[in-house]
Symmetry: C2
Subunit: 283 residues, 2 copies
C-alpha cells in the first residue's frame, strides 16, 4: 500500500499532487490527484471525493473547476480518482462511453469487464483506506461528481450513506437504467438482466431503499444538451420527493454540461459540504 | 471584419465564447476566446488582454486560470488570443519553442517567418480594433500574460504605454536577448543582428526608453524551474529601479511555472487592473 508521487504543484497555499499506486481492486496501476489545503500541515483534514465524467482522468477537475481556492479556505482536501482502470491487459472499447474513461463507478460482472472494472469498490473502499493511512486526510468524507461521476457520487451515498457526511452532484446521470449512456454501459458491464441494474441506479435505489440520512445538493444547467435524454433530473426529483429526501436541486438557465458550468457553482458545493464535514476554515 | 462564433458557454453569469476570424495582419484564420462579464449586457466594458505562453492556444487561460469569477464581479472582459499564426501555409518548426505556439508577440523580419508571424501587430492593433468594433468591449485596455505571454504584455506596455491602462505578468521572459528561449526565437524571427532584438526586449526597452507611465505588477514563483535560466526577473527589477518605474514584483516560495501558480494569484492581478481600468463592479 504505497503511493508514488508523480507531480506536485503549490496551489493557493496548499499542494496539488498526482500519485500513482497499484490498485488491488482494479488489478492495475492507477493515477489520482489530491489537493491538500494548508490546514493539512497541522493534521488530517476532511476530504471531498470528486468523481469525474466520461473521458476524464484525474486532471480535468483539478485543472478546470477552480475548486482549490475555496478548499484552501475551508480546509478540505480534494481527491480526484481516474474514471476507469487503465493500462495493458485492461479491456477497452473504441467508443468514448464504454471501457477506459467510462467505468461508471460500478463493479462489473460480465466478461471481459469483470476482471478490472470494479470502480465502485475502488472509490468507496480501497482509495479511502489507502489515503487515510498515508496522507493527512481524515475519515470525514463527502462525495461529489459530474455527469457519470454525479451518478457515481449519488449511488455511493445511497448504497452506503454511513460512509459520507454529504453528497452533491453536477448534471448527474440520475437514472442510468432509463437513458442511452446508462443502458449501454449497464448491458456491457452487468449483462442484459435488468434486475442486476437496479442496485447501480440512483432513482431505483431511492425507490427501494428510501431516503438516506445525509444531505444532498444537485446542480444542473437548463441548456445542458444531455438534460432531456441522459440525466433524468426530474425523475430523481420525483423519487426524492416520494422518499422524503430533501434534495436541493438547483436549475440554472443558460448553463450547459461543461466545466464552465461546474466552475461557476463549485464554491456553493464546497460550502455545502463544509457545513457537514466539520472542516476548519482558515482564521 | 467579422467574427464567427464557434462556441459559447455561460460562466459566472457571463459568457465564455470562442470566435474565428480572418486576420489581415497574420494572413490566416485565427481563433480567440473572450469572456464577457454580465455587465457587458449593459454596454461596453473594459478589457484585459491575456497573452499565453509557449505551446498554448486560446484555451489554456480560459480553462485553467479561474479568472472568470473575479472578472464577472469586477465587470472586466477577458480576451485570450492564440500564441501564433496557424494553419496551412504558415511556417512551423518541430520544436515547441519556435513556430506555431511560439510567436513571441513580435513582428518577424526573416524568411520564412515574416510572411505570417506578426503577432505584435495582431494583439496590439488588429485585435483591439476588431473587438471594439464588434463586441461590447471598450478601449479601456489592460494587458497581462504568462511566460512568453508575460514578455508580450511587457513589451506592449513599454512600446506603446498609451494603449494600456495597466500591465501585469506572471513568470515573464523579461530579458529574452539574454536567455535560451529568447535567443533562439529572436535569431529565427529577427536574424542574428542583435541590434534588431532590442526593441522586443523588456529590459532593453526600459533601459533605452525609460519608465512608462502605466503601473505594473509581476508575479513569480521561486520554485519555477525556468526562473534562473529563462526569466531574467532580477534584471528586470534592476532595470525598473534604474528607470524609476515602480514595478510591484511579488516572489512566492514554493510556486512553480504552472497554471496552478497563475490561478493562485490571478485574483490579485484582476483587482490590480480594475483599479486602473475604471471597471464597474457588480452591486
Amino acid at each position: 500500500m504505497t503511493l508514488e508521487m508523480v507531480s506536485s504543484n503549490k496551489s493557493f497555499g496548499g499542494w496539488h499532487r498526482q500519485y500513482r499506486h497499484h490498485s488491488e481492486t482494479l488489478g492495475c496501476p492507477m493515477r489520482l490527484a489530491v489537493f491538500l489545503p494548508p490546514q493539512a500541515e497541522q493534521g488530517p483534514v476532511p476530504a471531498l471525493y470528486w468523481l469525474s465524467g466520461l473521458t476524464c482522468t484525474d486532471e480535468n477537475f483539478m485543472q478546470k473547476a477552480g475548486a482549490q481556492r475555496v478548499a484552501a479556505e475551508l480546509g478540505i482536501a480534494l481527491i480526484a480518482p481516474d474514471t476507469s482502470p487503465r493500462g495493458e491487459g485492461v479491456a477497452d472499447d473504441p467508443a468514448y462511453d464504454l471501457g477506459m474513461g467510462a467505468g461508471f463507478y460500478l463493479n462489473a460482472t460480465q466478461t471481459p469487464w469483470a476482471a478490472h472494472y470494479r470502480m465502485y469498490d475502488y472509490v468507496t473502499r480501497e482509495l479511502p483506506t489507502l489515503l487515510e493511512a498515508t496522507l493527512p486526510v481524515s475519515g470525514q468524507r463527502a462525495i461529489s461528481g459530474h455527469s457519470m461521476g454525479g451518478h457515481g457520487a449519488l449511488i455511493a451515498a445511497l448504497r452506503e450513506p454511513g460512509r459520507y457526511r454529504s453528497v452533491s452532484a453536477f448534471s448527474p446521470i440520475s437514472h442510468p437504467m432509463d437513458c442511452p449512456w446508462g443502458q449501454k454501459a449497464f448491458t456491457a458491464y452487468l449483462g442484459t438482466e435488468q434486475d442486476r441494474w437496479r442496485e447501480w441506479d440512483s432513482v431505483q435505489l431511492l425507490r427501494e431503499r428510501g431516503a438516506p440520512t445525509l444531505p444532498c445538493r444537485v446542480e444542473v444547467g437548463l441548456d445542458d444538451p444531455f438534460l432531456a435524454e441522459q440525466l433524468g433530473i426530474d425523475t430523481l426529483a420525483e423519487a426524492a420527493r416520494a422518499a422524503g429526501w430533501p434534495v436541493q436541486i438547483e436549475r440554472h438557465a443558460g448553463y450547459d454540461h461543461s466545466y464552465y458550468f461546474v466552475a461557476s457553482f463549485i464554491e456553493a458545493h464546497l460550502r455545502f459540504h463544509a457545513r457537514h464535514l466539520g472542516a476548519s476554515p482558515q482564521a
